[in-house]
Symmetry: C2
Subunit: 196 residues, 2 copies
Amino acid sequence: MKLLQKKIEEEGIVLSSNVLKVDAFLNHQIDPQLMKEIGKEFAYRFANEGITKILTIESSGISPALMAGLYLETPVIFARKKTSLTLINDLWTAEVHSFTKNETNKIAVSKHYLTERDRVLVIDDFLANGQAVLGLINIVQQAGSSLSGIGIVIEKSFQNGRMLLEEMNIRVESLARVKSLENGKVVFLEEEAVGI
Amino acid sequence: MKLLQKKIEEEGIVLSSNVLKVDAFLNHQIDPQLMKEIGKEFAYRFANEGITKILTIESSGISPALMAGLYLETPVIFARKKTSLTLINDLWTAEVHSFTKNETNKIAVSKHYLTERDRVLVIDDFLANGQAVLGLINIVQQAGSSLSGIGIVIEKSFQNGRMLLEEMNIRVESLARVKSLENGKVVFLEEEAVGI
């Protein structure tokens, strides 16, 4: 997605060869017009898939997932990282390990909102080692829902998340694929000729 | 906002005389079409205010804030509840006490995205005791930004948040005002004749 690549080039900050900071438009400040275009693009790529629910994880997945839900005309569920007062019982849960933070957190989705009748699109802001997405897939499987695929805003293609998912024969659509962050520079994988 | 009141009546669950659970469309599962209408309504109520930034707090504030930002054509910032790897320095911070969870958390906003040139609309999902909103206002003040007002999706009018804000001469626009949750029933304050 050229619009997204341009935004990353202009406003992304390479903190190290592993870390791309996009707090300017995705992870802290959000650009609503860009999110709208991202939502449209996900809807275009997963049209005619019979999707009934979009599943993401708080907090940075919510904006792209919400806009995809707007255009696919489906509800959006965000997995909780910890349970809150009004969300206690009847949960599907999974463990998610973060290599960057070196901690494991439980994520949870209410059994009320994900069932065996659902066909699910999982959306997240970043794909790196794939741990968050694997946790979400685990929950989709527990619920007996069918998985349509994974929609990612920014993929760090030099980490092994995509490989793990492809080995499971899961479709992954990443709107920007970052090949390298070496020497403070963002290099993208060549984009397929699809969408915007 | 009649559409929102109807949704609360149909899908909200009264857990106690204090707690209204709206996990079906706002706090866990999200209804994107409803969020779009909510965003439009906030934009309508705060039009011609010269707003340059919308400030909310993760996670449930993000969806209504994002849609308001789409229609007001402004960026949206979500305050972080804890700092992450890529968000460490140059922060405005405030303490927010949660009476329901009986804990105090620090919230943080990057100094890069909120400055004295900004005019800010603060948006949140719920207004109860007003502690989260007061924390966000504190950050707006530290940044030297001007505050246009507060946009709330659901106000629990029987708690003292609105009173605290009105004593500070701050404009509060709540799209649904809940007068009481007694006896398992949602009773609304009469809605002003504005918007949808």
